[in-house]
Amino acid sequence: MGALAMTHVGYVIAGWAIPLVALGAYALRTIRRGRTLAPQVPPEERRWS
């Protein structure tokens, strides 16, 4: 079963790409927010450090 023989290729690609891109973008945004905020908080209040 190869991708070339696949039916509904556009729907399958869109169905996977949209949520994965959205999740990736949200993950990046969350990590960046954390990096911006973490230096503003004393290390003893960041229990995971």
């Binding site: 959205a22 969350t30 954390g34 973490a38 503003q40 995971w48």
Partner: protein
Amino acid sequence: MSAPHTTTSSRSTRVLGVLSLAGLALLLGYALWWSPPDVVQKDSVRIMYVHVPTAIVAFSACGITTLASAMWLRKRTEGWWVLGAASAEVGLLFTGACLVTGSIWGRPTWGTYWTWDPRITSTTLLFILLIGYLALRRVDSEAGAAHRGTRSAIVGVLLFPNVIVVHYSVDWWRSLHQTATITRLDPSIEGTMLFTLMLGIVVFALVFTWLLVHRFRVGWLEERAAGGALDAALVQRRAEAGLAGGPA
């Protein structure tokens, strides 16, 4: 300050992140190549391996927010407050992904991107409730922060009952959406398709957990930073008042 101490990462989140990425790669292999096409739906069935897991994760996130809201109403501790928001925000993302993938899957299988089917309508209501919950947390209340918290927590408590409505909507009302596939004792799919679906649920649960932990820590930092900024503003105001030589 070294990088590991100025992020929301820890050893456990890094392990979780690597597992999530490896799982996603494996899932893509099974979902797009190694699992067979469906006899009726052909290859459009491959959307199921992202649609069903995102739905299950979204509903679990609503359950966590409901639990956190109930616990916050009872104990009023910061951890439950931050957890409720973190789970709702990540849950909103997964609910949106569920609706979008369902819509895309609906076009080749039902012939339409959208219909006011009971399952879709109740899931849309859940999406709106999540937005409402997150919005209420930000809207100031004249009665104070506690009132604002109580108001949003009550909406949070309503989330999981709506998940139950979503789940049973296909049984209670006439629905275009199919009934339960994997939650019944004799699943209606088997073999590689069932394995791929289960793998999808595990992988998206890992991704959700990774996102939830990071989002929780961001929320924790936001609360601390907001408190720190207020303290700094008070110190500056007192210093200015002292330099001016009189009371503010």
